[in-house]
Symmetry: C2
Subunit: 770 residues, 2 copies
Amino acid sequence: MKTYIKSDSWKIIEEEFNPDNQRSSESIFSLGNGQMGQRANFEEKYSGSSLQGSYMAGVYYPDKTRVGWWKNGYPEYFAKVINSPSWINIHIRINGEELDLKKCKTEDFIRTLDMQKGLLTRSFNATLNNGVKIKAEASRFLSMNDPECGLIKYTITPLNFTGKIVVDPFIDGDVENEDSNYGEKFWNIEETKSDKDKSSLIAQTKKLDFKIAYCSTWTINGTADVKAYNTSVKAGSIIEVPAVEGKTIVFEKYTGIASSLNHNSNSLLHIAEKKATNAKSKGFDQMEKEHINRWAEIWKQSDIKIEGDIKAQQGIRFNIFHINQTYTGEDERFNIGPKGFTGEKYGGSTYWDTEAYCIPFFLATAPPHVTKNLLIYRYKHLQKAIENGAKLGFTNGAALYPMVTMNGEECHNEWEITFEEVHRNSAIAFAIYNYIRHTGDEQYLDKYGLEVLIAISRFWAQRVNWSNKKKKYVMLGVTGPNEYENNINNNWYTNQMAVWCLNYTIESLEKVKKSNSNRYNEIVEKTSFNFKEEVSLWNEIANNIHLPYNKELNIFMQQDGYMNKIQQTSDELPQEVRPINQHWSWDRILRSCFIKQADTLQGIYVLEDKFDTETIRRHFDFYEPRTLHESSLSPCVHSILAARTAKIEKAYELYLRTSRLDIDDYNNEVHEGLHITSMAGTWMSIVEGFGGKRVKEGNLHFNPVIPKKWSEFSFKITFKGDDMQIKVDKDKISITSYSKKEFNIYVYDEKITVKPQVTVSLKLKPNYYA
Amino acid sequence: MKTYIKSDSWKIIEEEFNPDNQRSSESIFSLGNGQMGQRANFEEKYSGSSLQGSYMAGVYYPDKTRVGWWKNGYPEYFAKVINSPSWINIHIRINGEELDLKKCKTEDFIRTLDMQKGLLTRSFNATLNNGVKIKAEASRFLSMNDPECGLIKYTITPLNFTGKIVVDPFIDGDVENEDSNYGEKFWNIEETKSDKDKSSLIAQTKKLDFKIAYCSTWTINGTADVKAYNTSVKAGSIIEVPAVEGKTIVFEKYTGIASSLNHNSNSLLHIAEKKATNAKSKGFDQMEKEHINRWAEIWKQSDIKIEGDIKAQQGIRFNIFHINQTYTGEDERFNIGPKGFTGEKYGGSTYWDTEAYCIPFFLATAPPHVTKNLLIYRYKHLQKAIENGAKLGFTNGAALYPMVTMNGEECHNEWEITFEEVHRNSAIAFAIYNYIRHTGDEQYLDKYGLEVLIAISRFWAQRVNWSNKKKKYVMLGVTGPNEYENNINNNWYTNQMAVWCLNYTIESLEKVKKSNSNRYNEIVEKTSFNFKEEVSLWNEIANNIHLPYNKELNIFMQQDGYMNKIQQTSDELPQEVRPINQHWSWDRILRSCFIKQADTLQGIYVLEDKFDTETIRRHFDFYEPRTLHESSLSPCVHSILAARTAKIEKAYELYLRTSRLDIDDYNNEVHEGLHITSMAGTWMSIVEGFGGKRVKEGNLHFNPVIPKKWSEFSFKITFKGDDMQIKVDKDKISITSYSKKEFNIYVYDEKITVKPQVTVSLKLKPNYYA
């Protein structure tokens, strides 16, 4: 844990430069705009430890799989998010000495991420070894308004000397990934070019032929002597300017970046140049203004305000800011990697995190097409998921979606995850249901959803087998959400969700059959669907699946045999052995009763309607003390269920942990990148936890509570086209409609009609679930 | 499966050269002498596909571990048996063209491994592209009498021309391992040297500083023009001789090889030179004679004769030959790798194979010190096994011996094997018991055995836990001998063997306490042993462990939950999906009921005394049809139990599979090397299976049967210092004593007294177990 970030309601602030924190800050202060992202690497040369990171959405590299002991069915490659050519470089030489914060004395350092504006700024005074002292300021943004542009303003003021400053802005193609499996570089640099006022570079990935063109142009105040240069991997300019004590040199760098994902390969350089020169002609301030306006629109719908708790406020905005930087929902080819644009780890972009965590966020805070694009992404991968199923021995169009993927092909190669953590399939099915119930877009089912549901249900029907012993269907050899158990039998979550999938598919089939028989027949033909046989088998399985249950405790068991373990609670586990996966050997972890992340509770969270408060509480009381939350995806679900069972302070404690996971570096790993997908979980823990937001039978519900420390919190929701703000204070919940039409919602299960543009307030019932 | 090897009772013969079989033949025709080994690579240049393999016992390389997803506790390196500098090279150029069997026309090719003599010979006629035709003959042995010497005689007879032949004998240090994890080479060549009649090379491993010196000297008939040469990695001579039609050129190469394992590093070259020149002065024929004499001694004690079944005869001799080539028992630092000196696969030398398979062979066919050295090997690794245990969280001197090791440190890195296939510990304990009951060397227990037993029992006591649910001790998260199940609970074999270990340790403690109280006290102090507490816990566990059992079937279950699987038998599994680990994804293998190798039956085999024939038969009938024998270690145990339950033809079928596994390449992998350790299992299947050899309560028993196809078989046994031959024919069993004293044995559980040097015959009871 590190707590060097200063609290502020809208800003992330680092005062004082400490090289030990540089990698962490590079993650925390990252910028992105949906199309690209950039870690907060310095513009000037930095010889200290740093993880260089410049990432382009959808551009990846199939890095040859590294595996100790090959197993049949393992994928050949792992898709890596690639560190791309670096466009931020502005090296500075002052009187012949390189400005390098690792080597000079730094004072009054302050780095700020203004989350409201999407701006990264930095200022410091530096005294070089040659005695010169300067003040520098850097300001950077990746335009949300024009996502192919990145702008930097860099100023230097000589404080104690007159002499010569060399500004060396360049684009650098000599980059690599730290996690390259075999130490290979991933880029070929095709072309570099420099002239008096601009430099450009074209890079192509060594495999898959992704191509990106970069063009930087610049302005500088005052006279300058310019020499353009380029090498085989680099293009830049040497700009020599006189340094006059007290006189500020203002340098602006405008970079256009065009990717073959969006444009014809031959036109990339042209487009990058146009982007750069257009930006330059608009000017830094105008571009910045347009960028900030776009952020204002985003915040308008997705901001959460918390009064009385600045750390919580900062935390939630940090989370909302980063998810929105990562995914803007305009391109169905993109998805949301666990680290977004902030690091290399976890490489491949798509995990079940998207469906289980991110989609609830986007459904409530963004227009429907944003979520729909995430769904279409999986729809387009259906054929590959069916092929993946076939590779593992499944037949008849059964689909197993990959655990980790970029283009629909499985990338991961641990058998206990790749082949066995199959519950991801259910999350993908549930997301279809979730999308439709939130947006009311019933058409989605006919057009896309049903095919996916059929393929997933076919998988479940083959993945279970009849146990003659138990006289039940069983599902053997799985890994549940709790990855601290592998190859277990009858994971309750997995089995329960499989049943849900089967039932929802049957229901959906019947719905489409009735409402759109043409399309229904088309799907039947396309999938060779045998309604009678398949549906009857699915019903049979759904009604006769084994769900491990302990009679004495009256709770569902995470899996068969869980109670044969030594039962301990997390408070018996000393801090120095945590996280246990860094201290214990894997067998010991597997034998222990300790849970990495919500598993049975995850199922209860997802299917909450099936359970009464007492049942939820019993399960929470049993599982929570056994859960270590060593996955970032865990605390938010527990926080929601804690709120659901009137354990408000427990919910608050878990909320803090999830919301400040990265700012305060709880797991000592923020240097690798941020936990982007779990950030959506943080949002859930406020809106669904404290706000008590639910959708039941097509209706929106709120059963709010408020943590002791907060005087008020508010958030926005969009539901079936109606926008509203929910504000909760110590006494009441207020619903303000931004809709043009009247709508109904439920508060504490009581139906409320909200008229257009008015605010309705109701008394808070803090003990509703007590 | 490949069946190109010609049947012969003493020889392995390949007629006709087929490059597709070259790698397989290189394995099958391998030579070794305990100190070193050599695949049957050609002396002359060969540009076809080949696995070069020259191996030195005890010389290994800690190759940096390759792992996809790191888990805490994984080892940093995998110890690799190293392909060492090649001393066999004799390149031949005829009238300017290189002799290369890949490039010329070959006739009358015959390659022979004379197992009686330990000789590899090869002859062929070759027509080169330049039209010249020659006859060549090569003869090679690695001296059993002087294990630092390798000799080759190579003759060439020009058949249709007169001209010039260049013989180029050299030592080549430019070698590599095909399975190097990161493509590194493992050797530094320190020195190369050549003069008129000898060449030498000193090589040092890049890590661990193993050093080997090679010196080759030679003779050639007739006049020759010699030019010595050396490069940084090679040392040799260019020997130009006139080629005269019909006149045979005889070239002999004498190589001395000295390793820093056996000599002071500074003297290596001197010793290698001495070895080479001594061999040369003795001459090829004399050296060969001494070598053959040593083999005769080995065969005298270990040969098995089978009449009436040449394939079975060839098979068993092939197995006995290769085990004896691999390990001669003179050095307690050596052990027996699964591939011996015949390939790179499985790298690290020591697996549980040694204790479970090889030790029974050596106990019965070699002097006691041979087995004792294998035991001492583990005794010397005890401290590292305790450290390994500590690394996995075990305390109080609990030892977990590694799954794969060279020097006592764990090398393997699959969590389900490394951390969970813990039954290896029991095999090591059982070997102590087995050694003592065979040799009568009770002292071993005091001196070495007890310390190992205590450490192993401590491990078991911590590896189980009390299940409040079952009211039994359970052992969670293990992999049994059947590696087609991972992370299972209560593997019957593992639990049952753990109980055996606990009981045997208690018994041994009491024995030593009584018989040697000084040593007992010394051990108690050294191990901080608390007799009262530890023994009472061990008793408690041994008496209350959960052993999965199915009441209906009245058999022990391989593990908890086995009967929840779909029950199928191997005859339902089409040949084209076998071996399943090459066709099925791992989850599918794990979910299936199919067994890779003997597991429950392994336990019944080891602890046979505990079970009556009916019980054994019930288990065999249940498990055998579910077993795929996709481990080479499987069929032999099943063969023994088939014989034990009067299923003689089943036993025979399984015997053939194990004995000709490599000759006929059942698993399509012989090109990677031979299954050396399972070869000992083949011996077991004759001696313990058909011969019915058992040791019960300190006495030697035989309950022989004979397969239909055999008219007679015989083998030798040494037991507590008494040597004997057992011969079984259709009517009788004959025991011939080679002992100087009278001894008792049991035949069909009847006590027989055998007088010195006489033969006793008894009627065969082929239906004794029916």
